[in-house]
Amino acid sequence: MDIEYKERLKANAFAVTPKATNEWMNLDDSERANIIRSALDKCNFNSNILEFVEAKKDGQVIFRILNDINPSERGELLLDLEFVLKKEVHDFIFINIEPLGDKNSLRKLRGIDIKKETT
């Protein structure tokens, strides 16, 4: 039995997810954005594929996909980028893309819009 792996699973189950610091939350939108932009400049960020949109108080960094990225590539690309930002900025940083609404014409009649903000 791989005791080391088992212990890591256990430690992970108990671990607390890094949360945004007060210092980060007290910055205004443009200050947070500037920190992210300078971190992106350092890591050869490909602005032809992704556009930085916003850095939220809770550590969420939102991007927009400019050119369709194949599903076999986009996940790994974004996870790698998240880990770069965790290293360059803070470990509470996490990435999301702008959400997409339902394309089903019938269901759309319900008028449900994906909320962008966590309540």
Binding site: L9, A13, P71, R74, G75, L78, L79, F94, L100, N104
Partner: protein, 379 residues
């Protein structure tokens, strides 16, 4: 967690999990092995002719929808069998009965030795289709929003005047019930109500409908919501309906069990776990062909957890890729918080609770003993 409901055909577990019957996978996982999912929950299309007010698929739009051809679907099943998947259910994300691949998919799954099941609104599940698939299915669960035609049509279609959809569904469900009896099939047939706090008055009519149809069970479950609360589900309001739900349960008879998913309803939006271990055991695949660990991550928002699309490449290659495990490892890491980074009560909820308790030493999973419960390959 509950132990299940005893029926004439065996122990029916709907409000818990069946990991105890897959301890080989649990032990391998705990040893750090890259395990194949026990179950895959998927759809053959994103399309659907209904417009259910409680539908989570409204929040699951990814960048592209690929057209899933029968050959893609059958290759997928071959890959499932090759890596050791034990069951596949056509449930999430779209109405699979509308796909041309639907009948061949079910027949091929059974031929490969995979247990196969389906959830459907039954609107397009005519007698010809039922005849071709029912003998191969382990269970079929019909989405029935409410027990009365007008409210059913209001919650699942354009308005209360469109009761023709209710009539069509009841006709097709009744046919399946009669065919099961006629051919003495092992399949379990149930109806499901997705309870939202505004539907308390519909609980008893729904239970009565289950009894009238003569299905094996009528289950009442919570409504899931995404992390932004797009559907606006207030879980604190479920408690006001507990007495009505208990009354519904007491209406069970020898043929039809009325079941409430108490554990999920009570857990609401405050799960006991923070990591999402479950997708390694119960994977979800979108009706767009997209493979992401869980349905809550199909939306473009969660693109970092998009692993691949089986229309573009073979599933077995995706499963064996490092990117598959990168996504799974992320969900099992401290960087992922199930309380804030995903929707409520995912399909993996029960196994998330069990695996979390297992690794923490709160309650270790043990090998199941005695007769296996019904549908033991569906986690």
């Amino acid at each position: 967690m509950s132990n299940g409901i005893q029926t004439k055909e065996g122990n029916l577990i709907l409000d818990s999990h069946k990991l105890s019957y897959h301890m080989d996978r649990v032990n391998a996982w705990e040893n750090g092995e890259r395990i194949a999912p026990v179950s895959v929950d998927m759809a053959l299309t994103r399309g659907c002719g209904a417009m259910c007010s409680f539908c989570y698929a409204m929040m699951q739009e990814s960048q592209n929808r690929f057209s899933i051809k029968t050959s893609h679907a059958l290759n997928l099943l071959d890959d499932f069998a090759e890596i050791g998947v034990r069951s596949v259910s056509l449930v999430s994300d779209g109405e699979s009965t509308l796909s041309k691949a639907y009948v061949p998919f079910i027949q091929h799954a059974k031929k490969l030795g995979l247990d196969v099941a389906n959830a459907t609104n039954a609107w397009d599940w005519d007698e010809e289709k039922v005849d071709q698939v029912l003998p191969h299915l382990t269970w079929v669960r019909f989405t029935v929003a409410t027990g009365r035609p007008e409210s059913y049509a209001a919650h699942m279609y354009k308005g209360p005047e469109h009761t023709e959809v209710f009539d069509r569904a009841m006709k097709n469900i009744s046919y399946a019930v009669s065919l099961k009896k006629k051919l003495n099939l092992d399949v379990t047939l149930g109806i499901q109500m997705v309870l939202t706090p505004d539907l308390e008055d519909e609980i008893i009519p729904f239970a009565k409908l289950g009894l009238d149809l003569g299905v094996d069970y009528a289950v009442i479950k919570h409504c899931s919501d995404d992390e932004q609360k797009t559907l606006g589900i207030d879980y604190s309001l479920y408690e006001d309906m507990y007495e009505t739900m208990k009354t519904a349960e007491s209406m069970s008879n020898d043929v039809t069990k009325i079941i409430v998913k108490w554990d999920k309803i009570k857990d609401g939006d405050k799960p006991s776990y923070h990591r999402h271990f479950g997708p390694q055991f119960l994977l979800q695949i979108s009706g767009s062909g997209l493979i992401a660990p869980s349905g809550g991550f199909f939306n473009a928002k969660h693109s970092k957890l998009h692993i691949g699309n089986y229309v573009e490449e073979r599933f077995i290659d995706i499963f064996k890729s490092d990117r598959y495990w990168k996504a799974m490892d992320y969900l099992a890491s401290p960087f992922f918080d199930a309380h804030t980074m995903m929707g409520t009560l995912p399909i993996q909820h029960y196994i998330n609770v069990a695996l979390d308790n297992h690794v923490k030493g709160v309650q270790r999973l043990k090998e199941g003993t005695g007769p296996k419960p019904l549908h033991h390959n569906f986690l």
